[in-house]
C-alpha cells in the first residue's frame, strides 16, 4: 500500500481514529496491529521474513544482554587482579561476539539470499564463461520483501548497540516488533535507532490538535513533492533514458539534472509523508534530508542526503573498520612514512572503499549501483585531498570563500558531480552509462536542440513544463526558508484565513496538478525497490 493512494488515506484515517479512541496505555498496540495489517497487505510471505528477523534479533538481543549481566557479576568478585579482570572481559566479549555473528548470519543471510542470489549466480556464471567453462546460471524466482534493506539495517543497529552496551535489550517482544515494523517507516526508512524511536511509542501520545495538524501538513507537502514534481518530471526523464540510443547529449544533460530533482522530490517527499503520519501519532522520525543540493562539497552532501543511512554506515561500518587493528597499524605506518595529512588519507582509503562499495551494493544487486557507489567513494576521497589545495589557491587569489558567488559556484559544482553519479544510477547498465556520458561530451549542440524543440518530445507539453518549473521554484524557495525557519510555524502564526488559503491551495495543487498514472494507479516510489 503506497502512501500516495486512496487505500492508504482510508487506512491511515481509521488507524488515527482508533488510536485516539483507545486508552493511552493501549495506543501502542493499535500501532502494532496497524503495522501488522499494513505489512500483511503487501503479502503474507513477506510477513514470514519480517517475523524471522524480529524473532531472531529479539532472542539474540536477550542473549547478549544476559552475557553482559553475568560479566558484571563476575567482575564484582573480590580480590581480582587487573589481568584476571581483563581475561573475564575478553571471554564474555567473545561470547557476545558469537551471538552478534549468528544474528548477522540470519538477518544478513536472508537479505543476501533474497536480494543478491541471482546477481551473484549470474556473475559467477559469467566469470566461468571467461575461463571458457560452460555453465547456466541458477536463477531463482525471488521477490524482495517490502523494506527488507531498511528494517534489516535497523535491526543490525539494534543488536550491535546492545552488544556495545549502549542500552539494554527490549524484554517485550511485541514492543520490539513495533520498533521494527512501525508502518510509516518500514517501506523506505528513515532507519531508526532503538533508543530514540522506541520510547516514543509509549509516551507523548496524548491527543494534540496542533501536532496532528502539523503532521497532516507535512504529509501534504510530501504528497505535493511526489505527485506534482517527481511524477511529472519522471515522464520526461523516462522519455530520454528509455530511448538512450536516439537521445542526444543536450537531452541527457536536461534529463539528468531533472532526474536529480526527481529522485530528491520522490525520496524526500516519501520521508515527509512518513514523518507526517508518524507525527500524528506523537512519533518524531529521524531527519533523512537536510536540503542536500545546498551542499558545497561532496562530504557535506552525504551528511545531508539520506542521513540515516550515512550515519548507519559511519557508526556500524566505517568506524569499526577504520579502528580495527589492521587499519590502526596502516594509519600509524602511513602517517610515519608520508606525513600526517597524506598518511591519514592513504590509510582512510580502505575504510572509505569498504563503505562506498557497501553503499552501492545496498542500493541494488546490479553492477551499476556498485559503480555509482565507487564513484562517490572516489569523489569523497578527492574532496578530502583537494579541499586544502583549493583553499590554498583561493587564499592566494584572494577569493572570499564565504561570499555568495563562491558558495554558489561550490553548490553548482557539487550538483554537477552528483548528476554524473545519477547517470550510473538511472541508466540500465554501466556500459550504457558510459555511452551516455560520452554523448554528453561529444554530442552537444544546443542550437540544433532548440531548433528541434526537443522538449516537446520529452513527453511533457508546455503546460506541464510550466507546472514543473513553478513547482521546482516553489520547492527551492521553501528549502531556502527552511534553512532558517520552520515553515509550519510561520504558517501557524498567520491569520486563520491565510492558513486555510495555504491549506486549500496545497490540496488543490495536489489534486489538479498531481500525476496519477494510467487508470489512476499510483506510481511507486524510487526507493521502494531497495
Amino acid at each position: 500500500m503506497q502512501f500516495n493512494t486512496i487505500e492508504f488515506a482510508v487506512f491511515f484515517l481509521c488507524v488515527l481514529i482508533i488510536f485516539y479512541i483507545m486508552p493511552k496505555k493501549f495506543r501502542w498496540i493499535v500501532l502494532l496491529i496497524a503495522s501488522g495489517i499494513f505489512y500483511l497487505l503487501a503479502g503474507i510471505n513477506f510477513l514470514a521474513y519480517l517475523g524471522i528477523t524480529i524473532l531472531s534479533t529479539f532472542a539474540f538481543g536477550l542473549g547478549i544482554d544476559h552475557i553482559h549481566k553475568v560479566q558484571k557479576v563476575n567482575l564484582k568478585q573480590d580480590g581480582l587482579t587487573r589481568d584476571e579482570k581483563k581475561h573475564i572481559k575478553a571471554r564474555y566479549k567473545r561470547n557476545r561476539q558469537y551471538l552478534v555473528a549468528l544474528n548477522l548470519l540470519v538477518n544478513l543471510g536472508l537479505l543476501f539470499f533474497i536480494k543478491y542470489f541471482n546477481f551473484l549466480s549470474s556473475n559467477f556464471s559469467r566469470l566461468l564463461s571467461f575461463a571458457k567453462v560452460d555453465s547456466t546460471p541458477l536463477l531463482l524466482e525471488l521477490v524482495l520483501p517490502l523494506g527488507i534493506s531498511f528494517y534489516t539495517f535497523q535491526t543490525i543497529g539494534y543488536i550491535v548497540d546492545v552488544y556495545r552496551g549502549k542500552y539494554a535489550a527490549e524484554r517485550n517482544i511485541f514492543k520490539f516488533a513495533l520498533f521494527v515494523s512501525f508502518f510509516p517507516q518500514i517501506i523506505q526508512g528513515p532507519i531508526g535507532r532503538f533508543d530514540k524511536l522506541s520510547p516514543q511509542f509509549f509516551e507523548n501520545n496524548e491527543f494534540d490538535y496542533k501536532r496532528i495538524c502539523y503532521g497532516l501538513q507535512l504529509f501534504l507537502w510530501g504528497l505535493f513533492k511526489k505527485l506534482v514534481i517527481a511524477d511529472r518530471i519522471n515522464i520526461a526523464v523516462n522519455q530520454v533514458y528509455d530511448n538512450w540510443k536516439t537521445s542526444d547529449g543536450v537531452s541527457f544533460i536536461i534529463a539528468t539534472a531533472l532526474y536529480s530533482i526527481q529522485i530528491y522530490a520522490d525520496f524526500s517527499g516519501c520521508m515527509d509523508m512518513a514523518g507526517g503520519v508518524a507525527e500524528t501519532f506523537g512519533v518524531q522520525l529521524d531527519k533523512n534530508f537536510d536540503h542536500p543540493y545546498f551542499s558545497k562539497t561532496m562530504p557535506e552532501f552525504w551528511r545531508r542526503w539520506h542521513m540515516t543511512l550515512g550515519t548507519w554506515f559511519k557508526d556500524y561500518l566505517f568506524y569499526p573498520v577504520s579502528t580495527s587493528k589492521f587499519s590502526q597499524k596502516l594509519n600509524k605506518k602511513s602517517r610515519k612514512r608520508f606525513g600526517n595529512n597524506a598518511g591519514r588519507l592513504i590509510a582512510g582509503c580502505f575504510p572509505i572503499f569498504v563503505v562506498w562499495l557497501s553503499t552501492g551494493f545496498w542500493h541494488g544487486a546490479e553492477l551499476k549501483y556498485i559503480a555509482w557507489g565507487l564513484f562517490h567513494g572516489i569523489l569523497i576521497m578527492s574532496s578530502l585531498i583537494f579541499t586544502p589545495v583549493n583553499n590554498a589557491i583561493s587564499d592566494k587569489l584572494h577569493i572570499p570563500r564565504e561570499k555568495l558567488p563562491f558558495r554558489m559556484f561550490q553548490m553548482i559544482r557539487t550538483f554537477i558531480l552528483c548528476c554524473i553519479g545519477r547517470v550510473f544510477f538511472r541508466s540500465p547498465s554501466v556500459s550504457v552509462s558510459f555511452t551516455i556520458l560520452k554523448k554528453v561530451i561529444t554530442d552537444v549542440n544546443f542550437s540544433a536542440f532548440m531548433k528541434r524543440l526537443t522538449y516537446l518530445n520529452m513527453g511533457l507539453d508546455e503546460k506541464d513544463w510550466c507546472v514543473a518549473a513553478v513547482s521546482i521554484l516553489l520547492l527551492w524557495a521553501v528549502s531556502l526558508i527552511q534553512e532558517k525557519y520552520k515553515v509550519r510555524d510561520l504558517i501557524a502564526k498567520r491569520f486563520i484565513v491565510v492558513r486555510w488559503i495555504v491549506f486549500y491551495a496545497a490540496v488543490f495543487a495536489v489534486i489538479v496538478f498531481g500525476i496519477y498514472g494510467p487508470g489512476y494507479d499510483a506510481s511507486t516510489f524510487i526507493y521502494n525497490q531497495f
Binding site: 548497540d161 557508526d315 579502528t323 590502526q328 600526517n340 598518511g343 591519514r344 590509510a347
Partner: protein
Amino acid sequence: MLSKTFTLQHTNNKMEKIQELLQGIMPHIDFENERNLIDDGILDSLDIVSIISELTSEFDIEIPTEEITPENFNSLQSISTMVDRLMEED
C-alpha cells in the same frame, strides 16, 4: 590534601601529553581553546581515526567504537576525560 594535589598534577600532565600528541598530528588546530571540535566540523572522521591510533598506542588502551561520540571528542578536556575513564576501566 597531598593526594588531591597529586591527582590534579597527574591529570594535568596527562592532558599536556595528549595535547602534545594531538598538536603533533594536527598542528594547525588550537586544541587548548577549541570546545566544539566535532560539532564545528574542525575534526573529520579521518582525524578521529588518527587521534584514536595515537591514544591507543600511547596509553595502551582500547577505544571501542561506541566511545566515538561528539561528546568525547569535542575538546581536549573531553578527550582527556575519556582516556582517564578508559584507563580506569581497563
